[in-house]
Symmetry: C2
Subunit: 413 residues, 2 copies
């Protein structure tokens, strides 16, 4: 691949101003942002995004699931080079998660527009619907959305049909949102890391190697509720002792091998949970993530063995139920190489790392080439009012996005 550099650069102040302006919509008293998908705040933010896309010289359309697709025409037609992310937040979110990717994409188009420049390829900025919950936006584009509308009903009971109608979509036309690699030749997403690796390594840019696959299990351990005073240790079936063994075994599995995988027990509930009763039952979650599906399978086999051994030595019954499985998506090697080259040319320090959080790129990468650029999150904090990435760091990421797009414009037919 040939990498060409131009002198053009994104406008750091403008990008920062737009991040701040978007964060006013759904702003919380504590400084965080609450802009749940399909809420009034989401609708208001979508309207602002469309205005900015039009200002940047793009045409704007929506699809059946409310994804907003801004297109900056290329000198040629055909498959687009695309970027994008999301503008919905968790109940108490920050201003960077998702928004940076969307606003950096629009900023790139704006810079092209100001410089009266066009890529060969059409350039798309996509705002995906509901990344923080159902991921229906990217899944519909990948053709992987469920056709069971009940699966998308909101916690408050609102049907997905109403949600989509509110943002200009149409549940009945769900399948029309599907696209393929003839529509999108490559997808490049800029995102804050949401972890502390870049900060710890003092690197400016993360070249994402892929988005990890994930398994989630719920484990139930059944022991026997006995009086904690009157029941000798040898006559107990202590569900918490069994759970403690499992927690340590899972943590140990996370430490094995190349250390890229993570294994977490984040949720654990004891019953009856009284100081003077031997625990009768423990429910706990297991969350496993790795780029290697093979390694994930290995970890699961190990956990199953551990559960059998623990059940035996504690006299408990242990059942495991799979709750979630997401396949890993690897970044395209050639796109990683381009990002790396761009970092070198821009004199930005970088490191390779997997994304251990899900992103819209995970679904888009299932049908076309995918790359991701990370910028540091202060103290690794995300999904919080304390989420922070400096204006310079945001601009550095956006510039890497800009120059990567310029570079790959020559690589795709």
């Amino acid at each position: 691949m040939v990498v060409t550099f131009s002198r053009i650069s994104i406008n750091c102040d403008r990008l920062d101003r737009h991040l701040a302006e978007l964060a006013e919509i759904g702003k919380l008293p504590n400084g965080g942002v609450c802009r749940l998908a399909f809420s009034d705040a989401d609708v208001q933010a979508r309207s602002l995004i469309k205005t900015w896309m039009l200002e940047a010289g793009m045409t704007v359309r929506g699809d059946a699931v409310g994804n907003i697709i801004g297109t900056y025409a290329g000198t040629e037609s055909g498959a687009a080079l695309a970027t994008g992310s999301h503008i919905d937040t968790v109940p108490v979110g920050g201003r960077y998660d998702g928004c940076l990717g969307v606003l950096a994409g629009i900023e790139v188009a704006r810079v092209f527009h100001e410089n009266q420049f066009r890529l060969r390829h059409p350039f798309e900025v996509i705002v995906f619907s509901d990344e923080e919950n159902s991921v229906i936006g990217c899944k519909a584009i990948a053709g992987n959305a469920s056709t069971d509308s009940e699966r998308y009903r909101r916690k408050d009971g609102t049907p997905i049909q109403d949600c989509l109608a509110k943002v200009g979509g149409n549940w009945e036309a769900l399948s029309s949102a599907k696209r393929d690699r003839h529509d999108i030749a490559a997808f490049m997403e800029l995102h804050v890391e949401q972890g502390g690796v870049l900060e710890a390594l003092d690197k400016q840019i993360g070249v994402v190697t892929g988005i990890v696959g994930q398994y989630r299990f719920m484990v139930q351990i059944i022991g026997r509720p006995n009086h904690a005073g009157t029941t000798p240790m040898t006559m107990r079936k202590d569900a918490l002792v069994a759970a403690a063994q499992l927690v340590l075994a899972i943590n140990h599995l996370g430490m094995l091998g190349n250390g890229e995988q993570v294994a977490t027990v984040g949720y654990l509930k004891v019953s009856p949970n009284a100081t003077n009763v031997v625990p009768a039952c423990v429910d706990l979650s297991i969350d496993l993530r790795d780029l290697s599906e093979e390694n994930l399978q290995f970890m699961i086999a190990q956990i199953e063995q551990e559960c059998q051994a623990i059940a035996k030595n504690t006299g408990t019954e242990i059942t495991i139920e799979q709750k979630l499985h997401v396949l890993p998506t690897l970044a395209k090697t050639e796109l990683m190489a381009v990002i790396e080259k761009v970092c070198q040319e821009l004199k930005l320090s970088y490191t390779h790392l997997p994304s251990r959080a899900g992103h819209d790129a995970q679904e888009i990468g299932r049908f076309t080439d995918m790359g991701m650029i990370f910028v540091p999150s202060r103290e690794g904090i995300s999904h919080s009012q304390d989420e922070y990435t400096s204006p310079e760091q945001c601009a550095q990421g956006a510039n890497v996005l800009l120059h990567t797009l310029l570079a790959i414009d020559h690589c795709y037919p």
Copy 2:
């Protein structure tokens, strides 16, 4: 000591009938009993007990904390031989816990009365107030009740003054309830085991070696709440991993040595307790019980060392707060020997065991000679509608009580 045997025996059917009749007061739809101390049901049950005491030829008085003291006069005056227990229950209790000790005591008096027999010593049956919660009844007799009335305020806000007035007591006269070994020469309590040791060993009678001391601690482990996806294992401060190590260390301590001690983590709460967040904080309880205060101190020292080591290897902060300390009370060796001898004469199988639950005898044993007799609890279940000890087992325990009293009547001046 000299043990003398008479042919007299308690009436099995009558004892069983009285247990059933008492269980009607506060009976729950599920078959359990709810007769909280100072409730209307408690007042009603107290009235029935007094009637039965009078029928058994006893004089009845109440003290300042509402303890009911039934006295069957001896051929001599002076210090009494006493028995007793409680008739209050936990919110869902059974019909044997406490009640067996009270009703067996009254049954013994009734048998004496029917046989126109008197011990040398006055014989007392004491119904202690509120064993299941504040243990104010036995504590006041031992002179160990707090003089801070706020410590005895009920969960529903009722002042202890009102509670005591309701059962004929008087908070202002608290100190008048105190007694000493010149009043009670020996105290013998019959109780259901509330554990599964006798059943497991297939023994009819438990010769209690003492009532264990108890420590209770609350531990707080502070880690760091990180995204379970994006935070590499090596960058975590996982409070639950630390807690799991501590749970296993505590369980291990319970298994050491002679195996008489118990060590339990019955309560454990994780924050924020979400599948995708590395646990930031864990609160857990530690309950330690043993007959040996020295061994309890050793266990505490071990736990403190473990906490330091765990805090270091997990990057967490661990604080321990003592919530409860009850000193052990040993049974009088000579009384244990008499119970043993009685079992042999009555051809009842027996074993020695500590009581790992608290009893009124624990406080009474602080100022006078104390002995306890256990009968089996089916499946070790107590504090439940499923609590069960057969009529024959109840009668066996009551007969051991009767004959032990006959025997020790000659041993005390």
